[in-house]
Symmetry: C2
Subunit: 333 residues, 2 copies
C-alpha cells in the first residue's frame, strides 16, 4: 500500500499556509506560505488557497493523486457539515463561500473544513502536546484568543458547529468592551493585541513605565516587550501582564468546570513569553481560583501546559482533520 | 416482543425518587419517593435506593425481570465509566461507593450511572423540551445551579467525566465567594439559595424592603417571595432579582460561545417565577450581552426556554440514561 498523505491548509488574514503531512508518523513534509490581504476578492483567495495546496504537494515530491484528502482550517463562522465559510473579518468581500466544493472540484481530492481554532487543537491532539491524553482544550493566544475542544478523542464543534469560541467567554461581567460586541471576554484581557492596547491606554492616561519613551517616539508596544518589562520589574507592565494571567487562569477554571479535560494547552504568539513568565503564573493563579473540591480516586484539575507544534499547529491540524473526517465517515477511503 | 421498560432513580440529599418509564412513548408509569438524610450511612442510602427502584417497578405493575435496565442520577463527583460515586456533600459518610455494582447485584438488572444534572438534561432531550432539537444545554436553578450538555445527540460528560458543572462557571472575576471555594460562580448569583442569602445579607446591612418585617419576625425569605416582591416594585428585591437574571444571561452567552447549542433550557425551582419575571428578562439581557455577530445562513444564538419535565426530569432522565447506555453499547440488550 502506498503511504497515506494529507494536505493541510491554514487560511489566515495575512497568509495562507499549506503543507503535506504523512499519516504514518504525522510528520510534516512540506511548507508553503502565500500572502493574502483584506481587500482580495473571495475567488482570488480561493485560487491562492488551491495554489498553496498544489505547491505544498509538489514540494513534498508527491502528486495530487497521492493525496488522500485536503483539510482546511479557516476562521468562522462556518459550517463543517456544509463546507461553507459564512464570513471572515479578514476578507471584507467574503460572503458564504462554498470552500469545500471549490477546493475539491479544483483538485479532485476529498476536502474537509474546520474552524481554525478547532483545527489547531486537533493538531496538538493528533500530533503534538496532546498525543498522550484523551481530552484537551486549547487556548490560542494570538491577535485574538481562539479555542478548540477535544473530548474522549472527539472534536467538539458545538451544536451549531460554531462553539469552542473560548476567547469570547465572558470572565468579567460588565468588563472591557470586546470587538465582538460583548463585554468582559477573555480575549479583551489575554490576547497579544489587547494586551498592547490595554497597556498603551494606560500610558495615554499618564501611567509611568519604562516603555513610555519608546511609545512616545512612536514605536508599537508589543506583548513581548510588555512581558520583558514586567519581568524587569516595570509596575505598569506587571499590572497588565498579571491581569492577563489572572483572567487566563479564570478561563482555565471555566474550561475545567465545563469540559473537564485531561489537559489545557496554551498556544499562540503569547507563549513565547516562556514558562516562567506565563505558564507558571497561570498555574499558580489557577490553583487559587480553582474550586477546593478534592476527589479521592479522580484528579479533577487539568494539567496546564504549552502546546508543542508552534505556528505549524494550523497546517498539521488541518491535515489531521482529513484523518478525523475518515474516522467520522465523511471522507471515504 | 415485550414492551421495553426502564427504571430511573434520582438520588438527592432529601429524597430518593424512582419511577418506571416506558421506552416506546417515554411516559412515566410510576413514582416513588423515599426520604434520605445527611447522617445516613452509605449502605443505608444504597439500600433505600434499591428499595425505591423495587417499589417503582412493583407500582408500575411490572417485575424486575421485565426491566431492561436501571439508571441512576446522582450528585458528583462520580465516574460513569466506573459506576462509582466518589463523594456527596449531601451524605457526610459517603466515600467512593461502587453504586452500579451494588444496584445491579441486588436487582439482577444492568445499571448505569450519570451525574444528576446530566441526567436531567438528558431527560429533557429524550422526553421533554428538547425532543425536537439535536443539541441543548440545561441550567437547573435549584438550591445550587446544575448543568447538563447534549451536543449532536450525545451527552457530553467532559474529559474526566465531571464536566458540565455550569453553576461553577466564573462569570465575575473576584466576585462573591461560592461554597465550592471559587469566587464569582454563576451559582452565587442565580441559585434559589444564594438569591435568598444575598437578599438577607442586604437586609442585614440595612437595605429597605417590603420583606423586612417578615424577616425580622424570623421568617425565611424564599426566592419565590423575592420574585413576587420584585414584581410588586420592591427596590431591593428588584436589584437582587435583576442581578440573578443578568448573570444568568451571561451564563447563557458563555454557553452559546462554548457549546453553541440549538436551545438553552432553564429548569429547577426558580422557574416557578414564570416567563414574565424570569424568562423574558433573561432573554432580553442575553440579547444585550450576546455578541453582535450576525451570520447569514446560520442562526448562532440559541433559543432560551423553560424545561418541561419539572421535578420529574431527574427520574425520567435517569431512565433515559438506560437507553443512552444501550446506544453507547455499555448496556447490551
Amino acid at each position: 500500500m502506498a503511504e497515506r498523505l494529507y494536505c493541510g491548509v491554514d487560511l489566515g488574514g495575512t497568509n495562507i499556509k499549506a503543507g503535506v503531512v504523512r499519516a504514518a508518523d504525522r510528520c510534516q513534509l512540506s511548507e508553503v506560505t502565500l500572502e493574502t490581504g483584506r481587500e482580495l476578492q473571495p475567488e482570488v483567495v480561493v485560487g491562492k488557497l488551491i495554489d498553496a495546496a498544489r505547491q505544498a504537494v509538489a514540494k513534498a515530491g508527491a502528486t495530487l493523486e497521492q493525496i488522500t484528502g485536503i483539510g482546511i482550517g479557516s476562521p468562522g463562522p462556518l459550517s463543517h457539515k456544509r463546507g461553507v465559510v459564512f464570513q471572515m473579518a479578514n476578507f471584507k468581500h467574503w460572503r458564504h463561500q462554498p470552500l469545500v466544493q471549490a477546493v475539491s472540484e479544483a483538485t479532485g481530492r476529498p476536502t474537509t473544513l474546520e474552524n481554525d481554532g478547532n483545527a489547531a487543537a486537533w493538531g496538538e491532539f493528533w500530533a503534538g502536546a496532546g498525543r498522550d491524553v484523551d481530552s484537551l482544550v486549547m487556548l490560542t493566544l494570538g491577535t485574538g484568543v481562539g479555542g478548540g475542544i477535544v473530548l474522549d478523542g472527539r472534536l467538539i464543534r458545538g451544536g451549531r458547529e460554531n462553539g469552542a469560541e473560548l476567547g469570547h467567554m465572558i470572565v468579567q461581567a460588565c468588563g472591557r468592551p470586546c470587538s465582538c460586541g460583548q463585554s468582559g471576554c477573555l480575549e479583551t484581557y489575554a490576547s497579544a493585541w489587547k494586551l498592547s492596547l490595554n497597556f498603551v491606554e494606560q500610558l495615554a492616561n499618564g501611567a509611568e513605565s519604562s516603555l513610555r519613551a519608546s511609545w512616545q517616539a512612536g514605536a508599537q508596544i508589543t506583548s513581548k516587550q510588555i512581558a520583558e518589562a514586567a519581568s524587569a520589574g516595570d509596575p505598569l507592565a506587571q499590572r497588565i501582564w498579571n491581569e492577563a494571567c489572572h483572567y487566563l487562569a479564570i478561563g482555565c477554571v471555566n474550561i475545567a468546570r465545563i469540559c473537564n479535560p485531561d489537559r489545557i494547552l496554551l498556544a499562540g504568539g503569547l507563549i513565547n513569553a516562556g514558562e516562567k513568565l506565563l505558564l507558571e503564573p497561570v498555574r499558580r493563579q489557577f490553583a487559587i481560583e480553582d474550586w477546593k473540591l478534592v476527589c479521592e480516586g479522580m484528579e479533577l484539575a487539568p494539567e496546564i501546559r504549552f502546546a508543542s507544534l508552534g505556528p505549524n499547529a494550523g497546517v498539521i491540524g488541518a491535515a489531521g482533520a482529513v484523518e478525523l473526517a475518515i474516522e467520522e465517515g465523511t471522507i471515504k477511503v
